[in-house]
């Protein structure tokens, strides 16, 4: 059987991109055949690491007829241009979260993929994280009765580089860390988020041109309420990059998820502080696998562009009217 050939466009989100590249390598019959990156040093580094071909211009990668699908991990604000070009070239697309930085861009991306008949999947790996799946099954199985309230956090250390450049990232911590939980809320509880109250600020990193604090209270249709802490509030000496927690209060009990609490403790004298070292691969392997399956089997991707847009809207809404809730912005 012909291998399924995949290209990757931009390693701007290098942590996730290299994880996806590794995951591709673990799927039988799948080949990572090209990496395009306009940052030549970065592109060549990863092309060498993953033993593949480097292109400076992503259009050259898209011009290759043997490539069926691409994974796009560029800066948030560049997703639209690359997704549109890839769709036009007839490539199926796995796009890094958040979908993009504006609603208009998001709608255009979805329309382009639909017009060219290509699949668009958004990289929400938390849907594929085993503890998160177990939480969803327990909630849906009635372990705590009717869910009433949710307390969620997705804090992290501030990532370096373009993540705090509002022109490229579309915002700061709130743009970076709102969408995972927003997507999980929709996916676990099957309700849309219809109101957003947010306190957004920059207080933790002097001179930061964007927000590093994002605290939200969300209302879902059907009556559920959820809080979300999306702040870049983990100290440099915090033992791990951050985490994702979700405590669900139900009529019959409480279910508490700490999705990244699968680590061993490392006390390394050279590091000056202790670290938590994960012993699982998280959701990335199953996320990439699901995308490949959807392409091969010609089935709808499990996480769609619309899912990406709904989650993005929550972050946009949080930025919109501080500090009022803005159901109109979401419903309209």
């Amino acid at each position: 059987m012909e291998p399924l050939r995949v290209g990757m466009i931009s390693f701007a989100h290098d942590g996730h991109a290299s994880s996806y590249a590794t995951c591709l390598g673990q799927i039988p019959g799948v080949e990572l055949v090209a990496i395009a990156d306009d940052d030549e040093a970065r592109g060549r580094k990863y092309a060498e690491r993953f033993s593949t071909v480097y292109y400076a211009a992503y259009h050259d990668l898209l011009a290759r007829d043997d490539i069926a699908a691409v994974i796009i991990c560029s800066e948030n604000a560049r997703h639209r241009e690359m997704v549109a070009a890839a769709a036009e070239a007839g490539k199926h697309i796995l796009c890094e979260k958040p979908l993009t930085t504006t609603r208009a861009d998001g709608e255009a991306m979805i329309a382009a993929c639909r017009a060219h008949g290509v699949k668009l999947q958004i990289a929400f790996p938390m849907r594929f994280s085993p503890p998160t799946i177990a939480l969803r099954e327990a909630v849906r199985g009635g372990a705590i009765g009717t869910p009433l309230m949710v307390k969620a956090t997705n804090p992290g250390r501030m990532p370096p580089g373009w993540f705090s450049d509002p022109a490229l990232a579309g915002g700061g911590a709130t743009m970076d860390h709102t969408v995972h939980v927003a997507d999980l809320l929709r996916w676990i509880f099957g309700h849309e988020i219809v109101s957003v109250y947010a306190e957004i600020d920059a207080r933790l990193h002097p001179g930061l041109p964007t927000d590093d604090i994002g605290l939200m209270l969300l209302g879902l249709d059907g009556g559920l309420s959820a809080s979300l802490d999306a702040s870049w509030s983990r100290a440099k000496t915090w033992p791990i990059w951050g985490g994702l927690t979700m405590e669900v209060i139900g009529e019959g009990g409480v279910l508490a998820l700490d999705a990244f609490n699968q680590n061993v403790q490392l006390f390394d004298d050279d590091a000056g502080h202790y670290s938590l070292v994960p012993y699982t691969g998280g959701g990335d392997p199953a996320l990439v696998r699901a995308f490949i399956d959807a392409v091969r089997d010609d089935t709808p991707p499990p996480v769609t562009g619309e899912d990406g847009l709904r989650a993005l809207e929550v972050a946009l809404c949080a930025y919109g009217h501080e500090p009022v809730s803005c159901p109109d912005a979401l419903l309209g």
Binding site: G145, T146, L148, M149, K151, T153, Y197, E199, D201, R203, L204, H205, P206, D212, I213, L215, M216, L217, G219, G223, S225, S227, D229, S231, S233, R234, A235, T237, W238, I249, E251, G252, G253, V254, P323, V324, S325
Partner: protein, 348 residues
């Protein structure tokens, strides 16, 4: 020596009676409870006299101060009676259920020239005091975002009156007020709050829960959780600043743990503290009260402070009830209702 009457021989009254006995400067002179048997049994192992009639204790010229550990709706009336009798007043939190009551209590004590302290004991918990000292020392730079949590099980039997929302105000007035008070102590006045919760939601099960986002006038943003939906009591606090993080979680600082081979050894009545202390926070707060009576100095948790913390808790409740953010000016919320609104049915 300060002669003290403990009024209300329930959970907190028992705690305060123990503090009186432990502190060298205090004498437990009276135990008052409308239930004479309760008064008698708490007084029995001590030299204190027991009565069901507060007037009898207040008439004792040797009595210096009262500790009011009665359900919250009685706080105002008993504070006013004690103050009128010239006794210093230590009143359990929350100070009252309405701002009118709270202000009247503070005014009554001022008029009578007696000291007035409210039992916002969390400020006297050594871990929260240590955090305050670390903040004062600038240990984590500029504070940005804070998370405070206080969860407990639903108060069924034994804490009968708590499940009556009109008496207790639910977990927001019973528990969240502790964190609102402590955060106010750390960060100053509040600028606005927004909250969501279950206090005004009819639901089948006995659960109450709320989440609040509090913006302080100095810019700090805080997330505060309160719960009567968990299976036991625990607290946590985390303060993230530009230079690091301070955190404490009660279930991560267990310095003594008892595991008995059930069911042979019933643990009922055996109280093993998870973190044994040389002086309990209740003793520390009582010592503060006695020292301030003696030296006339400022009381950390006086009537005005307690009234502001009550106002903050009422603002959280009003936000839960109305779905609106509540703005504050000079630390006082712009409230529709200056007291607990409890006429919305809570289905239990």
């Amino acid at each position: 020596m300060t002669n003290i009457a403990v009024v209300g021989a329930g959970t907190m009254g028992t705690m305060h009676a123990a503090s009186c006995r432990a502190l060298p400067g205090a004498t437990l002179a009276w135990v008052v409870d409308e239930d004479p048997e309760r008064a008698a049994s708490l007084a029995a192992p001590t030299t204190a006299r027991a009565t069901a009639d507060l007037a009898e204790a207040l008439a004792d010229p040797a009595l210096d101060a009262v500790i009011l550990a009665v359900p919250t709706p009685s706080h105002r009336a008993l504070t006013e009676r004690a103050a009128a009798a010239g006794k210093h007043v230590f009143c359990e939190k929350p100070i009252a259920l309405t701002l009118d009551d709270a202000r009247a209590m503070t005014a009554a004590c001022e008029r009578a020239g007696v000291r007035f302290m409210v039992g916002h004991v969390v400020r006297f918990f050594p871990e929260y005091a240590r955090i305050g000292a670390l903040l004062d020392a600038g240990s984590v730079g500029e504070v940005g975002v804070v998370r405070a949590s206080r969860v407990n099980a639903y108060p069924f039997v034994g804490r009968g009156w708590y499940s009556d929302f009109a008496w207790s105000g639910g977990p927001i007035l019973d528990m969240m007020i502790h964190d609102l008070d402590t955060l106010r102590w750390y960060f100053g006045e509040i600028a606005r709050v927004y909250a969501r919760g279950l206090s005004y939601t009819p639901h089948r099960a006995a659960v109450d829960y709320a989440l609040a986002i509090v913006r302080f006038a100095n810019g700090v943003v805080a997330h505060v959780e309160t719960s009567w939906a968990h299976s036991g009591f625990r607290t946590s606090i985390e303060i993230a600043g530009s230079g690091g993080i301070i955190r404490h979680a009660s279930d991560e600082t267990t310095s003594l743990r008892l595991e008995q081979t059930a069911p042979a050894a019933p643990v009922r009545g055996v109280n093993v503290p998870h973190s044994p202390l040389a002086e309990s926070p209740y003793q520390t707060e009582l010592r503060h009260f006695l020292d301030r009576i003696a030296d006339g100095g400022p009381i950390l948790t006086g009537g005005d402070e307690a009234t502001r913390s009550l106002a903050a808790a009422l603002a959280v409740l009003e936000s839960v009830r109305t779905g609106r953010a509540i703005p504050f000016t000079d630390g006082w919320p712009m409230l529709e209702s200056q007291g607990l609104v409890s006429d919305i049915p809570v289905t239990v």
